[in-house]
Symmetry: C2
DNA sequence: ATCCGCAAATGACATGGGTCAAATGTTGAA
DNA sequence: TTCAACATTTGACCCATGTCATTTGCGGAT
């Protein structure tokens, strides 16, 4: 096998990627997809708890998670962090770099993780030619914004148990969308990260998991979650927003 | 004066708008500006507490505040709202509609307010031709996202007095950017709205204003704020983020 | 001016969830 | 297998804020 063939094999192909209908290429025509495909870097692999970027670092492109999980977060000088989002396979991150073409937050892996990088300059050039790609970018962007808005509602107005319920429903529906069971899944993040995302203390997360379990709403063993009463979980969250849609 | 001249006079001109260096057109060439200008609707005027859009409503375009002030918010079924952002003259809102081409949150005036609407379909067409306009849009997107991230940090990790200090610094620097005094300004929103934005109770806002005043940090009379010790205010907020840049 | 209605401030009290400390699990390295 | 380091759980205590009730103040209408 010569170099060329090898390179071709190694090259990531969006078309063949099992996540392509969840990721950026969703809705693009084969022609458009091929053009985009040429630009995407081969997946990178990282171990758990490795930093991908930090504030001030140059923005190169949009990241797409293939396997594992990534968290994005800000920190206070005193060290506390606020996790902004968890990014599961098929989801993207890195848009925080768009304002100044430099990142504003941190991104780290939570697990063994592989991801693609879509170089932004190339993507932007393509956007000039492909209206459908532009639309896809807008959608992606609007989705990020709406996720952040839902997170603000959670942080500003929900009680601790509402927050945890909202969180579980969100993870559940994201697994479901990806074809996995919505009732039984493995959380990719630590208790500490959950607490940090929800703006509550780790101890509170522990106590709430115990309480949910005692009420027969779920079974939990380390990171394995089994939702036993989805309806009760939904009743705990009474926003005007439909959590399914985030 | 014939109809045509009248129409031309009424037509809003970005070029002549005093806010143009804060708003979308910032950084566009005169040629690009003129093309964009043709599409922008004349400013609309509304009284205080009028709803501009609500969840589910079709997304027509990006809104730019000319005078007054606008708040965007989500609500829980129980009625509590979470204010997502305050939008002052020269600032934009409405990007929550990008995901599904329908809005996901509410937008209401807080004051007598006038605003422009930039029809999105036209804007998008122009984006195909004008790379510099695309870049401007990305910057806008990124800025919105970063503002929301800072808000999440505030809601998740800051104490009540840190929140109020952060809020005052943000408003102050936004007035400053617009050429007004950073030390003396009129808040366009009610105590209730401040509380709702900060995720705390109205009563807490009252008490904190009193406490800040007793400490000689500021003077406050209804909506008139005079910051007397900006440094102390800054010391109260110890994030890794520079609040000036939001 | 006076009155009305709403916004803001104030006081008294209650509590959700934070903090601290200790115990218990879990994992990975040697 | 054992140990060390770290994650998670549990318990006891308490404080920053929320809640509720009342008062005060302002601004618009008459």
């Amino acid at each position: 096998m010569n170099q060329l063939q090898l390179a071709k094999q190694l090259k990531v192909s969006c078309e063949s990627c099992s996540l392509s209908d969840l990721c950026l290429p969703k809705g693009l025509s084969p022609f458009e997809l091929e053009k985009l495909d040429d630009y995407i870097e081969r997946p990178r692999k990282l171990e758990p708890n490795v930093q991908i970027y930090q504030p001030g670092e140059k923005f190169f492109g949009i990241y797409a998670v293939r396997t594992g999980g990534v968290k994005t977060y800000l920190t206070k000088k005193t060290g506390e962090q606020q996790i902004l989002g968890f990014h599961l396979p098929g989801e993207i991150f890195g848009l925080d770099g768009l304002e100044h073409f430099a990142h504003r937050c941190y991104a780290s892996t939570m697990d063994n993780t592989s991801y693609c990088v879509i170089p932004f300059e190339r993507l932007d050039e393509l956007c000039g030619e492909l209206p459908e790609l532009r639309r896809q970018i807008y959608k992606l962007f609007g989705h990020e914004l709406n996720c952040d808005h839902a997170h603000e509602l959670l942080l500003g107005q929900q009680t601790a148990h509402e927050r945890l319920a909202t969180f579980l429903l969100s993870i559940s529906s994201r697994f479901k969308n990806r074809g996995f069971s919505p009732n039984s899944f493995m959380l990719p993040m630590s208790r500490h990260d959950i607490a940090c995302y929800l703006g509550i203390a780790v101890e509170t997360v522990s106590r709430l998991f115990k309480s949910f379990q005692q009420q027969g709403i779920l079974k939990i063993n380390r990171k394995q979650v089994d939702i036993q009463d989805m309806e009760r979980l939904r009743e705990m969250v009474i926003n005007c927003e439909d959590p399914e849609s985030f």
